[in-house]
């Protein structure tokens, strides 16, 4: 054992071996929850609701996902859960087709599969906990934007990335709604911010000076809203250029109070997590079956089911009046 490397390896092996802990055979139901990306505040608040539900129901919650939105990683994590033999898998799909192969495999092994936030192919899951259809989000965003600027003028969009599937979908419906309802409004630019708040700020600053007639910036990724708001504030255009978008209350409170950001739209993500876990457990215990018309989820009460979609309800609009009631 002259070689230090060899000695090091031996020591390491001994250390590793001593670390082994017999995993107690847990008799709890295991529910696994896959977000699109873990670091995203949206999913963090989702997890808070899920944790609460898991505690109430006495199940073990696994929450893991890619650290950045990544379809390939999502598949790998689901496949890992299959071999871990979890009871329920709930997924916010980054890519519809991609994830569905893995989910079908899970179903074949007797694992119950639910989707939430973003759906997979219909045959690869039992239910979709639908927080709002992409169409609903697009319409709500566009209608709120139109209301803020009196249905006329130029506006620009900040998106998370040019490749994220849900962002593209929302953008599509925003544009469709624009075309159909608000002929006097014009979308002048769409800029990506790579999910970075600082980049959203730089992009918005450039947008403001490039488009002097700009009336509103709509950011549809959560770091984008405070970034755009900071740019408007620094440009001294508070009130003249409105800021709105999809985001979280805590990240936007100060801008909403300062009158920079007018409204932040979000379905209640905590409730989304809560409802998803309740539905998952009910599914595993055979209490929730195909064809059910409604579903009762703990303290949240009863939700309607339409086909195989469990509906969470309309997106929520935070503004100066109500934003302080929320802490996530």
């Amino acid at each position: 054992m002259k070689n230090p490397l060899l000695r090091f390896c031996a020591a390491g092996a001994v250390l590793l071996a001593s670390l082994i802990t017999a995993s107690a055979a847990d008799s709890k139901l295991i529910v696994a929850m896959l977000p699109k990306s873990k670091g995203n505040a949206y999913f963090i608040s989702c997890k808070a609701g899920a944790d609460k539900a898991a505690k109430e129901l006495g199940v073990q919650l696994l929450f893991d996902g890619p650290t950045d939105s990544n379809a390939a990683k999502q598949n790998e994590i689901v496949e890992n859960w299959i071999t871990l033999g979890v009871d329920v898998i709930t997924v916010a799909a980054e890519n519809k087709e991609g994830i569905s192969t893995a989910l079908r495999k899970a179903q074949k092994q007797g694992i119950k599969v639910l989707t939430y936030d973003a759906d997979a192919m219909a045959d690869s899951r039992s239910f979709f906990v639908n927080q709002a259809t992409p169409q609903g989000i697009g319409q709500t965003l566009m209608d709120e934007a139109a209301r803020l600027v009196g249905e006329e003028g130029e506006f620009a969009m900040i998106v998370g990335s040019l490749t994220a599937a849900n962002q593209r979908e929302w953008q599509k419906y925003v544009e469709a709604r624009l075309k159909e309802k608000f002929p006097k409004m014009k979308l002048v630019a769409v800029r990506p911010c790579d999910d970075l708040k600082d980049k959203a700020q730089s992009e918005s600053t450039a947008l403001l000076s490039a488009n002097p007639k700009l009336k509103l910036i709509m950011a549809i990724c959560s770091p984008g809203v405070p970034g755009a708001a900071e740019a408007v504030k620094q440009a001294g255009l508070t009130g003249k250029v409105k800021v709105m978008g999809l985001g979280l209350p805590n990240e936007n409170k100060r801008y909403v109070h300062a009158g920079v950001t007018d409204s932040v739209i979000l379905w209640n993500t905590g409730d989304l997590g809560y409802l998803t876990i309740y539905a998952g457990v009910a599914l595993a215990k055979d209490e929730l079956k195909k064809g059910a018309k409604s579903f009762k989820a703990g303290s949240l009460g009863t939700f309607a089911i339409e086909g195989d979609n469990i509906l969470l309800g309309k997106p929520f609009i935070f503004n100066q009046g109500n934003i302080d009631q929320f802490d996530f």
């Binding site: 000076s209 490039a210 405070p226």
Partner: protein, 309 residues
């Protein structure tokens, strides 16, 4: 004149872009938005100065983005706990220097290749931060933004500080022995050693230096907005390396200067706002940036061929 041909050609390209913008999109030059955009690049400039020094010494540091994020979050947490800025600033610089010293130790003392060492520290720090913060924003008290000054004053202070640092460093690189040591070590470490310089020590210190500058840059970024996003430094390393290289600092060490790096940074930083002003769709941004980098290296290659002939 000929000696600085490379740097001047970058300045020329920059001027061409600016002229084009002046012609097609004069709104680009309205003072307030321009000042905001320039202020956004001030922290990047500080880190780029450090990167130029590292590359001149024939090393590279790709962990700056992660160090930047870690320093930002730590400084943000300290500020949120009520620490005064006068204490947080040295703490952030010190933390950066500490990480720099780790890189420097591995590269200079253990003689490991810097690209791999800093790749490893980059991944380790980034994932460690992810593990602890899970992406959560740090909300800062209002007194932090612009150091409590008015916005324009704060922006001018930040831009002034970055430019002052640039001027001081550029001067030091030419006129102070320590600056010339970097060129000596980058050109030929063995010859430098025979000339009485200690290449190992120089290498160690240059990593400590870029770490400290990264910590400083993180503070300059912190002072610009009331929130810190833990992802804030993502991609910073590629941005500054590209800027430095486009600015004519040779990746093979020993050649280039900070003014070139400055011009390179401005040129690359122009791309995104310029595309916005010219109403070009965003899909082309990455391709344009890649093309500029390639163009710069091709120019380098052609020139060194000519010189060889």
């Amino acid at each position: 004149m000929k000696r600085y041909f490379r740097e001047l050609s970058v300045v020329g390209a920059l001027l061409a872009v600016l002229l084009g913008l002046a012609w097609f999109a004069p709104a680009f030059f309205s003072p307030q938005p321009l000042l905001s955009l320039v202020t956004r690049e001030a922290p990047t400039l500080v880190v780029a100065c450090g990167m130029a020094c590292v590359i001149i010494t024939r090393q590279i540091d790709i962990s700056v983005g992660s160090i930047f994020s870690v320093c930002s979050v730590c400084a943000g947490l300290l500020v949120a706990r009520g620490w005064p800025l006068e204490l947080v600033l040295p703490a952030s610089v010190g933390l950066g220097a500490l990480f720099g010293a780790l890189n420097g130790f591995l590269v200079a003392v253990l003689r490991l290749p810097s690209i791999v060492v800093t790749l490893a520290t980059m991944v380790t720090l980034r994932q460690g931060l992810n593990l602890i913060r899970q992406g959560e924003f740090v909300n800062l008290p209002d007194r932090v933004q612009w150091f409590g000054l008015s916005q324009t004053a704060g922006q001018l202070v930040l831009v002034g500080a970055a430019l002052g640092l640039l001027v001081a460093l550029a001067w030091a690189m030419r006129h102070i022995a320590a600056g010339r040591y970097l060129y000596a070590v980058g050109t030929d470490a063995e010859a430098a050693r025979l000339a009485g310089i200690r290449p190992q020590l120089v290498t160690l210190l240059v990593f400590v230096f870029i770490g400290a500058l990264t910590g400083l840059g993180a503070m300059m970024n912190l002072a610009q907005s009331p929130q810190v996003q833990p992802l804030t430094g993502n991609g910073l390393e590629l941005k500054v390396i590209a800027a430095v290289v486009v600015g004519g600092v040779a990746i093979s060490g020993g050649r280039g200067n900070l003014w070139g790096a400055f011009a390179g940074l401005l040129l690359l930083a122009c791309v995104s706002p310029a595309l916005t002003h010219l109403h070009v769709e965003a899909y082309w941004e990455k391709a344009v940036q890649g093309a500029i980098i390639l163009l710069a290296v091709v120019a380098d290659g052609l020139r060194s061929r000519q010189n060889n002939r």
